[in-house]
């Protein structure tokens, strides 16, 4: 019971963080039809910007300024890079973001070095929020949940309750019509790209000190976010939300379960030969593979994902 409750809380915290990344990625995909391979790089930039700002003026200004900076960088990338690559077709765009991911990593190497930086949780948030059974639940995880849910509500309100949100939604499906009505669609694209990357940056600000801020963090999170978007269905915000929580929970539960096929068979009284490597693998050891297995299975049996609308 204790294990389930704590793992569930951790899984939801991690899942919400994943959603902050995948929501931006999904919005960008449904608008421009490209998968932004560099999306997790903006997450990393957010963490590094926040670290740099926290060494100058502290954590709280960084929480606001770093995502805005990342969003500005993202908007510039769209305006001066992606829009240019767009002229050469989809593959060029995809390759552009692919190369960008490498470039950002290299720039981070140049400025902050190849090892991790000491980006700490602020003192105010360092402590125990409550104790469930005998396990402490840290304040910072509660704070992460609060920020994620706040962002979620704000995003929902922005998209459905404001004028700009309605124009964005219209531009998703009928860009030509929106343009004909006198709206500047390229600028909306730039705004959405900037907004999506700012969300990734915010995730970096609150995720960077909860986990670790190092040049490899983009690659580590990037492939998982990618799995989330594919499993949830490309272009579906609701699907991304469900898939984020699902993957978050799968990851936190699986790292804590040390059951192998041998153990399962032992329960029903069958002893497997000791030599087989496959039969002795525990779920913990399988944990890094599970998201990808899920993704490949989804792509084979339901290529449009859990809630995706389009096939290709």
């Amino acid at each position: 019971m204790e294990f389930v409750a704590i793992s569930l809380l951790n899984g939801i915290t991690y899942g919400l963080l994943l959603f902050m990344l995948s929501s931006g990625l999904t919005l960008i995909f449904s608008m421009m039809g490209i998968l932004n391979f560099a999306h997790a790089s903006f997450y990393m930039l957010g963490a590094y910007f926040a670290y740099q700002i926290s060494t100058w003026v502290g954590f709280w200004p960084g929480l606001l300024v770093a995502p805005l900076l990342v969003g500005a960088v993202g908007a510039m990338v769209e305006r001066y890079g992606l829009r240019r690559a767009h002229r050469f077709g989809h593959v060029a765009e995809l390759l552009f973001t692919f190369g960008l991911a490498f470039l950002v990593e290299e720039i981070v190497h140049l400025i902050w070095g190849k090892t991790s930086v000491d980006y700490k949780i602020p003192l105010e948030l360092d402590g125990t929020l409550f104790t469930l059974f005998s396990t402490d639940f840290p304040i910072y995880k509660g704070f992460m949940m609060l920020v994620s849910v706040g962002m979620l509500v704000a995003l929902y309100a922005l998209l459905t309750r404001t004028r700009i949100g309605l124009i964005i939604q219209a531009a998703l499906t009928k860009p030509d019509m929106v343009e004909a009505l006198g709206h500047n669609v390229p600028r909306i694209f730039m705004l959405v790209f900037g907004g999506g990357t700012a969300l990734a940056g915010l995730a970096g600000v609150i995720g960077g000190n909860a986990f670790i801020t190092e040049p490899g963090m983009a690659a580590a999170v990037g492939s998982i976010v990618f799995v989330v978007v594919v499993v949830g269905g490309l272009g579906s915000l609701g699907g991304a939300f469900i898939a984020s929580l699902l993957i978050g929970c799968i990851q936190t539960f699986s790292v804590a379960l040390s059951i192998s096929i041998t153990d399962v068979f032992a329960l029903i009284g069958v002893t497997l030969p000791a030599g087989s490597q496959v039969a002795r693998l525990t779920i913990t050891q399988l944990a890094p593979v599970l998201p990808y297995l899920l993704m490949v299975a989804i792509l084979i049996f339901r290529p449009r994902g859990l809630m995706g609308a389009r096939e290709n």
């Binding site: 190369g99 960008l100 594919v230 290709n312």
Partner: protein, 417 residues
């Protein structure tokens, strides 16, 4: 066959290239250069096999290293199984084992990946790539864990025609031979009905279906055959380095082969060869910054180096090349200034922040032969100023060159019509 594959001109070209490649060690005698040449030979095969997917069939794969890596592991395990009882001839044929492993992997994984084309294929290939890479760390018995699997390519006591494959030069000869065979085979494949159908599936899958071809099957066959050649490349790398680590099948290797193929040019058969040679050198000279050049290529010349060469050739044939030469020369100097400024900035940052080339905390470094004080503003301002001047001049001359370029191109296309 009297087709263009084995025409006299082409035979001369192939033969000339083979002789040139075999003669290179006579000029480049140092061990480092020969190792570099070996690496290029392997990468040429790998990049060409990748272009069978991206260039010829229009399949963007982010997991091609899987076939390369599995081929390498299969070859290494066979080499170790042969052990002392083998002979150099067996060793020379081992890349075939890698090829078969790549082929089998292509049959198994290709069945899953090729059901869809386009973005879905790209995503499944990425998922499968990550899956295999993650699995490889779970089975240390087969993949050797973090340390990898190592072996010794010199087996048995006797030599085959005087070769033991011990010295790097002999290995180079073996690699060139294999690379040559694979290149000719891959080129021949582009001329077969399958190769032609692959192009049709790339350009217009719907029409290919209507003509009566099964596009899924064409994609599958191309993935399988491309896996074969990638496996041979992996086998060669296993023999060459005598160690295979899990890194050979991860996403980074897949990214590098994509980079090579794209920079070289996917629209031409010889494009990936140029890309493989160039990127291998660049990775050694400028390391991680190679990817910045990749971005530049995507934005400036999406057809790759081969397409730039092809346009120059067309201009030359139309007698328009002479017109462009002054503009090329005028644009070259600002680009050099810009590059010098950028290199200076990068070197200064590395020296100060990453502590490379100098001891940690040291504030003196050597850039381009100059002794520089890192804690003063002088070197930084100089580097920034040079970059800015270079950028401004490049924009100025580049704009003029572009106008001339567009004029030349429109004349060229006007002549054709």
């Amino acid at each position: 066959m009297n087709s263009a594959v084995f025409s006299r001109g082409r035979l001369l070209l192939w033969g000339g290239c083979l002789l040139l490649a075999l003669a290179l060690p006579l000029v480049f005698k140092s061990g480092f250069l020969i190792s570099l040449l070996c690496q290029m030979g392997i990468m040429v095969v790998f990049a060409l096999s990748y272009n069978m997917l991206l260039g010829h069939t229009g399949l963007l794969s982010f997991g091609h290293a899987v076939y390369y890596g599995l081929g390498a592991f299969a070859t290494m395990h066979t080499l170790n199984a042969v052990g002392k009882g083998g002979d150099p001839l067996t060793t020379a044929l081992l890349p075939l084992v890698g090829g078969v492993a790549g082929l089998v992997a292509g049959v198994l994984l290709g069945y899953v990946t090729t059901r869809k084309a386009g973005t879905t294929f790209a995503m499944i290939s990425l998922g499968i790539g990550e899956l295999v890479a993650a699995c490889s760390l779970m089975f240390p018995g087969v993949f050797g864990g973090e340390g990898g699997v190592s072996g010794n390519r010199v087996v048995g006591k006797d030599a085959f025609l005087g070769f033991t494959w011990g010295p790097q030069v002999e290995m180079y000869g073996l690699i060139i031979l294999w690379a040559f065979i694979c290149t000719v085979a891959m080129f021949a494949l582009t001329q077969t009905p399958l190769g032609r159908m692959a192009n049709a599936v790339r350009d217009n899958p719907e029409r290919a279906e209507f003509v009566g071809y099964d596009t899924e099957r064409v994609r599958f066959l191309m993935v399988v055959l491309s896996g074969l050649f990638a496996g041979v490349a992996g086998g060669l790398s296993a023999l060459n380095y005598e160690i295979v680590t899990a890194e050979t099948l991860n996403a980074h290797t897949s990214g590098v082969v994509l980079l090579m193929t794209f920079v070289g040019g996917i629209g031409f058969f010889y494009g990936p060869i140029i890309g493989a040679i160039l990127i291998t050198v660049m990775q050694i000279v400028i390391g991680g910054m190679t990817h910045a050049c990749f971005l530049f290529m995507v934005l400036m010349a999406p057809g790759g180096i081969a397409s730039v060469i092809a346009i120059q050739r067309n201009l030359w044939l139309a007698g328009l090349f002479g017109r462009m030469v002054p503009h090329y020369l005028a644009a070259a100097l600002p680009v050099l200034i810009l590059l010098a400024g950028l290199v200076g900035l990068v070197e200064l940052s590395y020296a100060l922040l990453a502590g490379e080339g100098v001891g940690a905390g040291d504030t003196v470094t050597k850039v381009m032969g100059m002794q520089l004080q890192l804690n003063t503003l002088g070197p930084w301002l100089t580097a920034i100023a040079v970059t800015a001047v270079g950028l401004a001049l490049t924009r100025w001359t580049g704009g003029k060159a572009r106008i001339a370029w567009n004029a030349a191109l429109s004349t060229l296309h006007g002549d054709k019509q």
